[in-house]
């Protein structure tokens, strides 16, 4: 079987049965793999109105056709379930080494059904697959769980697991593998915890074949060379990591500060940027399976009140705890972000939820007695202490664990949650980067930057330079980027390859791996099909319409290049729906469904 192993594991956690079934090759062809394929399985098997934390929700791990093949940055996999934070389809992507190992063990994916009555983990050692008792792991952090499982199973095992926050139902808990790589957003960890599934430990000694080895190797060499030659993929990310974005976004007036209240410029941003991280705390950079970009940071705060070590922070986490909370102490930001990995939760949502709580506290909407101390913007101790409280499910941490929307609603101000479909928007102000505004509003998993990444053309000028302040042309570019990122996630390669590779290079690796002669356009159409099936699920699940928090639509930025601007969503949304072949309410038309072969999904 080319690029695939051809086997899916189906694990019923209630009945404690494990079955092997053949991979649905038609769906693998039409929905590529990973994100797309898992979503197709999910939509076929699960009622869109399922309660996300009920046993009837399913949790799917899925690799892509390029995962583990040696394709450039091809070590990724997807975790899919209905997301408890948003109620949308939840799809979270992770790198590291776990995905390829699963394939080498002989499985393209795992479908978890129902819920166990006691904590278990799934042990996979090639063809030995067992559900094992996990009482000894319950309550343990991601790091402890990983170490304990490696000690129990063996050095060569790769571990994907949840931390205590997943067990406690924190709505933005993630599933982490190789300790530091996260399928982070939307609460996949809470779904796993609700099933009493603590971890998957896998070891595989097999390999993956490709259809045309010689041509595949040529495509791979070409892709790697192009990545190496590109200023970003070659050395840029390796030297400064993703946190290097802080300064350019800040200088562009697009770094949201103080829960998006005070404009897009944070005067102390430089102290929190990638340059400062490299100067003060960077130990070394490292990478995921098959990756030459090596963007990950191993970092250590050697002393002081925030003494800690770990990996990261990535730009989004650095912003959510930094400028968004008005905090300029990089050591505190590092520690808070390390704690998120340790307890297994999404730092973007948590940092943004703390920022929202800071604003509500300053307004007097959250009483000091609820938090336990006087909560104000700019307090580095607050971000660390509150993160610890969510991790331990203590005090005000229990409220923060609901995410900003539910928390702000409890205190009478849902409009101050800077979220879309209840998921917090990340680190680019849509008033200063108009395409990002459209991207947030239309993202199929709520506020998110990796469902398109319009910042790339609008701020970084890759692959073309477009003016961030205008709305013209954004709808068509975003549609292309959304379809392309859906395709890339589904292939099993890292989105960062787009800093160096385009559709032709990605499609070439895919074609020679699976053995297809489809055109690049036909392959990109699969990305569009994936985008549309996600949309169908969300419509059937009754997810709210595409819009933005009122602050972005009504409160103009006070200064900087975008002074006086709001997010001009109305100027882009209609055109976007039209280009997508959807009606004025954002529902795919029969014609579009037919074109994409999704008539049954509608």
């Amino acid at each position: 079987m080319n690029a695939w192993v051809g086997v899916i594991l189906r694990v019923d956690l209630a009945a404690k049965t494990i079955e092997r079934e053949p991979l649905n090759m038609k769906d693998a062809h039409d929905f590529v793999g990973a994100r797309g394929l898992a979503t197709k399985y999910f939509c076929d098997e699960v009622d869109p109105n399922v309660e996300p934390l009920s046993p009837q929700n399913k949790l799917i791990y899925m690799t892509g056709p390029l995962t583990g093949t040696g394709a450039a940055s091809g070590g990724r996999f997807e975790v899919v379930a209905k997301a408890p934070l948003t109620g949308t389809i939840g799809a979270a992507n992770a790198g590291g080494y776990f995905g390829p190992e699963l394939k080498y063990a002989g499985y393209d994916g795992i479908i978890f059904e129902n819920a166990s009555d006691k904590p278990v983990y799934l042990y996979i050692n090639d063809d030995v697959v067992e559900l094992r008792d996990a009482w000894g792991l319950w309550g343990k952090s991601v790091y402890e769980t990983t170490d304990l499982l490696i000690a129990e199973c063996g050095e060569s095992f790769k571990v994907s697991c949840i931390g205590p926050t997943g067990e406690n139902g924190c709505l933005f808990s993630g599933v982490l593998n190789d300790k530091h790589r996260a399928a982070g957003r939307g609460g996949m960890g809470a779904v796993m915890g609700s099933k009493k599934l603590k971890a998957v430990a896998v070891r595989g000694t097999g390999s993956v074949n490709v259809a045309r080895p010689v041509e595949f190797m040529d495509a791979l060499v070409d892709a790697r060379q192009k990545l190496k030659e590109h200023p970003v993929g070659g050395t840029g990310l390796a030297v400064f990591g993703t946190q290097v974005l802080v300064n350019i976004i800040n200088e562009s007036g697009a770094l949201p500060t103080h829960n998006w209240r005070d404009g897009g410029y944070f005067p102390e941003a430089d102290a929190t940027g990638g340059e400062s991280l490299a100067d003060n705390y960077l130990v070394k950079n490292k990478g995921c399976f098959g990756c030459s970009i090596d963007c990950a940071r191993v970092t250590r705060v050697p002393d002081g009140p925030f003494k800690s070590e770990g990996e990261g922070p990535e730009y989004e986490a650095g912003w959510s705890y930094g400028a968004n909370c008005g905090v300029s102490d990089l050591a505190a930001i590092c520690k808070a972000s390390f704690l998120c990995n340790e307890y297994g939760m999404d730092p973007i949502t948590l940092g943004a939820t703390i920022a929202c709580a800071m604003e509500l506290s300053e307004m007097g909407a959250i009483p000091e007695s609820d938090v336990g101390f006087k909560l104000r913007f700019g307090d580095p101790h607050a971000i660390v202490n509150l993160t610890e409280m969510v991790g331990k499910n203590e005090g005000f941490g229990k409220t923060l664990a609901l995410g900003s929307y539910r928390m702000a609603e409890m205190y009478g101000h849902p409009e101050l949650s800077m979220s879309v479909k209840k998921q917090e928007m990340p680190a680019y102000d849509g008033r200063a980067v108009q395409g990002m505004a459209l991207e947030y509003a239309t993202s199929n998993r709520g506020g998110c930057h990796v469902r398109g990444y319009m910042t790339s053309p609008e701020i970084l000028g890759v692959p073309i330079k477009v003016d961030p302040l205008v709305t013209e042309g954004k709808a068509s570019l975003l549609k292309l980027f959304q379809d392309l990122t859906a395709l890339i996630d589904s292939l099993g390669v890292c989105l960062f390859t787009t800093f160096g590779l385009g559709l032709p290079e990605l499609a070439a690796q895919y074609k020679h791996a699976v053995g297809t002669d489809e055109t690049d356009e036909e392959i990109l159409l699969k990305g569009e099909r994936i985008w549309n099936i996600e949309k169908h699920f969300n419509i059937a699940a009754g997810v709210e319409k595409d819009t933005l928090p009122p602050r972005l639509l009504r409160e103009a930025l006070p200064s900087g290049p975008a002074a006086g601007k709001v997010a001009e969503l109305h100027a882009m949304l209609g055109e976007y729906y039209e280009l997508r072949g959807w009606d004025a309410d954002g529902v795919p038309t029969d014609l579009k469904n037919k074109e994409l072969g999704l008539a049954n999904e509608a």
Partner: protein, 91 residues
Amino acid sequence: MKLKFFATYRTIANCMEREISAPGDVWSLLQALAEEYGAQMRAKLFTPDGGDIGMDAIILVNGMNVAHLKGKSTELSEGDTVAIFPMVAGG
């Protein structure tokens, strides 16, 4: 006017920011910087033929990319802030 260097430009110039008197336009500023900091700066700022702003240089004037202003002919005056970045990415 204020001149700010970031990422690799900061390393090459060994400077975070400084005040300078405004040259006529962006092109004159970049020429002066290449003159002052030498070959490494020149290689990053310009296209290989030396005729335009290079791929690895993002020049912001008051937060706006010169690509969306008047490119290398964007005028500079006292009170402006110029920020120079290599091509960076993240997310």
